[in-house]
Subunit: 223 residues, 2 copies
C-alpha cells in the first residue's frame, strides 16, 4: 500500500491570521480552487465521510485531501488507497491549523488544477473554530452518538460553519438523539446553517451531500 | 429544579502552571481531598458516567463536581438534580483548564470535607492533556463509537492518564471496535494505564469502576 507523505508543519510567525486567511482564500479563488475546512470531534467519521463522498462524487471533481493529525498517518494512507491525492500533516501537538499552516499543506499536496482541497482538521470542537484557515466552506460533522446537545455546548463551531453533517444516522435507534432539539440549538447560533443527515457507513444521504457539495464548489470556482 | 451556580473563570496570570498545580495537589492532599480530572472527546459520556458512579458509590464518598463548559449549564443542573453538589464553570471560550482556574472552581464549589472533587474538563482530547490541573488522578473516557484508533491519534491524552474508561460498550455490536487494537495503542503510550469497560447507560461494569475509584480515593487521602 502506498504510504502518504508526512509533512511536519512549522509554527506560524504571522501575526494577523485573519488577514493571511483572506489572502489565501483570494489566491485559491484566483487559481480556481475551493478549500473546505472539515472539523469535528475525534471519531465523528471525518475520513469515512470523505471516502463515501469520493464514491458519490463519481469523478465529477478533481480533488485532494490534507489529513491533519497530532500523530499517526492512518487516515492519509486510507484516503490514498482510495485513489485520492492526499498528504498527512503533523501539527507537532498543536490543536488546530491556521492559514499559514494550511498554506504549507497545500504546497506539500502540490496538485495542479485541484477544484477542491479538503483540510481534515484536528479532531477538536473548540480551537479549530477560532482560526480562519482560508477556507471557502467550513463544514462540521456531528455524529449521533455524541448527542443532540453539542451545538449548545460548543457554540462557536456551529456559528462558523456553513454546513453541518449529522453522521452515523444508522445508529439513531440506539441513541437518544432528538433531531429537532439539535436543530434548535444549531439554528439559534446560526440560522443559515445547512444541515445534512447521512450514514457514511451505509451510504444513506451521502449522494445528496455530494451533489450539494459539487454544486457549491463549481459555483465558488466560477464566480 | 435547582439551578447550578455559574462561575465565570478568570484567565490565569501565573507563569508556571506545573509549579502551581503541584502546590494545589499538596494543599488538597493536606485537606484530605482527592481531585480527579475527567477528560474526553465531546459526547463520550462524562456526565452520564458520573451519574452512574454516584449510584454505584452508594454514599461511600463525600464528593462534588465541577462542570467546565464553554457555554450552557446542562450538565451541572443534571448532576445537582441527582443530589451531587455541583458548580458550573464557564471558561469564556478557553479550550482547557489549568491549575489556577481549577482552584477558582474549588473555591466556588465551597465544600467542607469533600473526599473527592471531580473536574469535568472541556470535551477535548488535545489541550486539556497539556495542562496539569493539580489532580491526583487523571481519567479519560473513550466511547466505543469514536473508534479504537484514538490512542494512536491523541497520544498525549493517553500518556497523561492513570485510568482509561471505555464507555458505551452496549454499542460494541454496532461499531467496528477492536479492544485488543485499542489496548495495544494505549499501552504502547502508557504501559501502566488501567483500563475499565463500562456502559454508563446499562450500568455494566460501573460497580467495578466505582469500587476501584473509592479504594484509590481513600488510599490517596490516607497516605
Amino acid at each position: 500500500m502506498e504510504k502518504a507523505k508526512i509533512i511536519a508543519l512549522k509554527e506560524s510567525v504571522l501575526e494577523d491570521n485573519d488577514q493571511d486567511a483572506q489572502a489565501l482564500r483570494e489566491e485559491l479563488h484566483a487559481g480556481g480552487t475551493c478549500l473546505l475546512n472539515l472539523m469535528s470531534s475525534p471519531g465523528s467519521g471525518k475520513t469515512t465521510t470523505l471516502l463515501a463522498l469520493n464514491k458519490a462524487f463519481g469523478g465529477r471533481l478533481r480533488w485532494g485531501v490534507m489529513e491533519a493529525d497530532i500523530d499517526s498517518a492512518v487516515d492519509a494512507d486510507t484516503m490514498l488507497a482510495a485513489g485520492v491525492p492526499t498528504v498527512q500533516l503533523h501539527t507537532g501537538g498543536m490543536c488546530h491549523l491556521d492559514a499559514d499552516m494550511t498554506r504549507q499543506g497545500i504546497r506539500a499536496l502540490d496538485m495542479d488544477n485541484a477544484e477542491l482541497i479538503v483540510l481534515e482538521n484536528i479532531g477538536n470542537l473548540v480551537c479549530p473554530a477560532e482560526f480562519d484557515t482560508g477556507a471557502a466552506i467550513n463544514m462540521t460533522i456531528l455524529s449521533v452518538p455524541e448527542g443532540d446537545d453539542k451545538p449548545a455546548k460548543y457554540p462557536l463551531m456551529y456559528e462558523t460553519c456553513d454546513m453541518l453533517v449529522v453522521n452515523k444516522i444508522d445508529t439513531l435507534p440506539v441513541f437518544d438523539f432528538d433531531r429537532e432539539r439539535m436543530e434548535g440549538y444549531a439554528r439559534a447560533r446560526n440560522p443559515e446553517i445547512e444541515i445534512y443527515y447521512i450514514s457514511a457507513k451505509t451510504g444513506e444521504g451521502v449522494q445528496e451531500l455530494a451533489d450539494a457539495l459539487v454544486k457549491k464548489v463549481k459555483e465558488w470556482n466560477a464566480n
